[in-house]
């Protein structure tokens, strides 16, 4: 295969990807593919998006070297790509601003979105407010309870939040409900999908919008250290922040790519969300990819302390990278992630999202594999403000 890995686009990534959705949605996916292809090649669109990122998102995001954290996690050099400093507090805004611009191009006045932790919902509600669009966010009832503050944020931004009460009442069911809404309202509505999963063109398009993370990082790392990092690490739920930072490095074979999945209570228990470590290929939410399912093809319920990683599927490009051996995926338990959250907070003064803490918890693992002093670039994908209630309860910090 002479084609570079970084040039791969959908609908298929090896045997993964595709468009496994009801026929009524195909016309909308075709339209989105066409509009996106045109926008991708249109310098005006690219300039408009770059300008938004400069003046609204807050890009480029900086890199912070975490020296005190590194010293107690095995002696690597740890560099944090600070997506937590973006407007709305996570990487999610990169994709949202891109898709909102596309919605405008398509003349669609209403956007719908799914959300787990609420980060993508907040980012979508933000973009809707900025562009003057109507916005409905679907959120599993379980998640509306554990992420109550983000529900309030979305409502304050003017979005309607619909609690989804069917199925497992989490992210997976929120996506189902968003797809049902889209089937009924496809002419007026853009489905602003928040991760690199779903039917084509979403996995390619969402990746492209997040690939700015890796592009910036690569230049910044060369400037800071004079060389490429030995490894790039990110947490993986649906996989958008991971693909975003991996993509620029796909064709640099000396750079190891590590995705850290939510192992919940442990990957050998039923309570985890380690799709790539423990799943098998199947079709969920419109794409062929690794997924957690039982022997009857029913989707299994995932578990993670982090709502944003609590998803039984994963983007098809990750499945492809796993099979190729280009990226490696490793499970991190709830307790390992929470300890990493606390450690980064207390060594660097940076409170990461619990999702992001999974990537940080992978550092000691990488320290065993990589030579001492090797550089690791970590996508610090989101900040932990939204997780204060969970962390407060977990560590017993509530009340004076």
């Amino acid at each position: 295969m002479s084609q570079k890995l970084g040039e791969q686009v959908g609908p298929y990534f090896g045997q993964y990807g595709g468009r496994f959705v009801p026929e009524p949605l195909i016309a909308a996916l075709d339209q989105l593919s066409q509009v996106y292809e045109a926008a991708r090649k249109d310098p005006k669109f690219q300039e408009e998006l770059a300008e938004l990122h400069r003046t609204y998102t807050g890009r480029p995001s900086i890199i912070t070297e975490a020296q005190r954290f590194a010293a107690v996690t095995g002696g690597l050099r740890v560099f944090l790509k600070r997506e937590d400093l973006n407007h709305t507090g996570s990487h999610k805004i990169n994709n949202v601003m891109g898709q909102a611009l596309l919605a405008k191009r398509m003349g669609k006045k209403r956007i719908i979105a799914e959300t787990g932790a609420g980060q993508h919902g907040v980012a979508s509600a933000t973009a809707a407010a900025y562009f003057g669009l109507d916005c409905v966010v679907y959120m599993g009832e379980v998640d509306t309870e554990r992420q109550a503050l983000n529900v309030a944020r979305m409502k304050l931004l003017g979005a309607e939040v619909v609690a989804v009460k069917t199925g497992s009442r989490t992210l997976k069911d929120a996506i189902n409900e968003a797809l049902r809404d889209w089937v009924a309202n496809v002419e007026t509505t853009h489905y602003l999908l928040g991760t690199v999963a779903g039917p084509h063109p979403f996995p390619t398009m969402v990746r492209d919008f997040h690939s700015i993370i890796g592009k910036e990082s690569k230049e910044q790392m060369l400037e800071l250290t004079g060389e490429l990092p030995a490894a790039v690490a990110a947490c993986v739920g649906g996989g958008s922040n991971a693909i975003g930072i991996f993509h620029a490095f796909l064709d640099d074979p000396d750079v190891q790519l590590w995705g850290f999945e939510a192992a919940g209570d442990g990957i050998d228990t039923p309570m985890h969300a380690a799709t790539l470590s423990r799943g098998v290929p199947g079709v969920l939410h419109g794409a062929m990819s690794y997924m957690l399912q039982d022997e009857d093809g029913q989707t299994s319920e995932s578990h993670s302390i982090s709502a944003g990683l609590d998803y039984p599927g994963v983007g098809p490009e990750h499945s492809w990278l796993k099979d190729l051996g280009r990226a490696q995926y490793h499970g991190v338990t709830d307790s390992e992630a929470m300890e990493a959250m606390k450690l980064l907070s207390q060594t660097e003064g940076i409170i990461p999202a619990i999702e992001t803490a999974h990537a940080l918890a992978g550092i000691p693992h990488l320290a065993k594999i990589l030579p001492a002093g090797a550089s690791v670039l970590v996508n610090l994908s989101g900040r932990g403000d939204k997780d204060m209630e969970t962390a407060g309860r977990y560590f017993g910090l509530l009340g004076a």
Binding site: I26, A27, G167, V283, G297, Q298, T299
Partner: protein, 258 residues
């Protein structure tokens, strides 16, 4: 009798066709067998046997709740074939399975097709599998001489209407409106247009589903299509009054036939 010959015979006689959906295993395997037999004996010409699935994106709340109940009650995919056999022992009515793709994929497409045929079903309706992605299923359906029913929607381009119609055998499922399954006061006028576009291809009959819930709508749909598909209204009737409710509703729907 094949699905297509039932549709043709009923069209020629001016009767029209009623397709009735019910979930396998709802509320239990035994109950669902009795329900399918009741549908067949009270006016349904074709049975649509729904496979309960954890993520039914094309279905409204009534079907979601019913299939969720079947899964809660322990429905396993192997019991689908038990249901088909149980119904086939009692009635000759053609049966089409309606399944989202992943359960079939996990079971093995070829193995699924083989067992479907052996159990006595005529084919499968695939709500989230478009012909473009269906090469395995097309091959197995051909091998076992099974019908394959694809969807066509108001939003489908002319190219897609043509391709999906040509890929279909048995009939083409014309989605009456842009939306998910559920009762609607009026069957959308889009239904007439969609069914007309399928019919103009001329390679397969078409039945109209989504939103059809009364005898009057069944009559109306049969004036411009080859059959009407009803699901949600049957489940709602079963929920409110059990098998008696289902029988009463089936008769009411069938009163719309000629």
């Amino acid at each position: 009798m094949s699905v297509q010959s039932v549709l043709e015979t009923n069209k020629q006689s001016g009767r029209g066709t009623l397709v009735g959906y019910f979930p396998a295993g709802y509320p239990t395997v035994e109950d669902s067998i009795a329900a399918f037999v009741a549908l067949a004996q009270n006016g349904c010409d074709i049975l649509e046997v729904g496979v309960p699935y954890s993520d039914p994106v094309m279905d409204g709340l009534v079907i979601q709740k019913a299939t969720e109940k079947a899964l809660e009650n322990g429905f396993k995919l192997s019991q689908l074939f038990e249901v088909i056999r149980g119904v086939r022992e009692q009635v000759d009515t053609p049966m089409l399975v309606m399944s989202y793709y992943n359960p079939v994929l996990r079971y093995g497409v070829e193995r699924f097709a083989d067992e479907l045929k052996q159990a006595g079903a005529q084919g499968m309706i695939t709500p989230d599998l478009i012909p473009d992605e269906a090469s395995k299923w097309l091959e197995s359906a051909d091998k076992h001489d099974l019908d394959r029913v694809f969807l066509v929607a108001p939003s489908s381009s002319d190219e897609r209407v043509s391709a999906n119609t040509k890929a279909s055998r048995g009939f083409v499922y014309s989605v009456s409106t842009m939306g998910i399954t559920g009762e609607r006061a009026e069957v959308d006028k889009l239904a007439r247009e969609v069914a007309g576009r399928v019919s103009s291809i001329g390679s397969a009959p078409t039945c109209v589903g989504v939103g059809v819930s009364t005898g009057a709508q069944v009559r109306d749909v049969n004036t411009f299509a080859d059959g009407a598909i009803v699901g949600t209204a049957l489940i709602a009737a079963y929920e409110s009054n059990g098998l008696d409710g289902l029988i009463e509703k089936t008769r009411e729907l069938a009163s719309g036939l000629g």
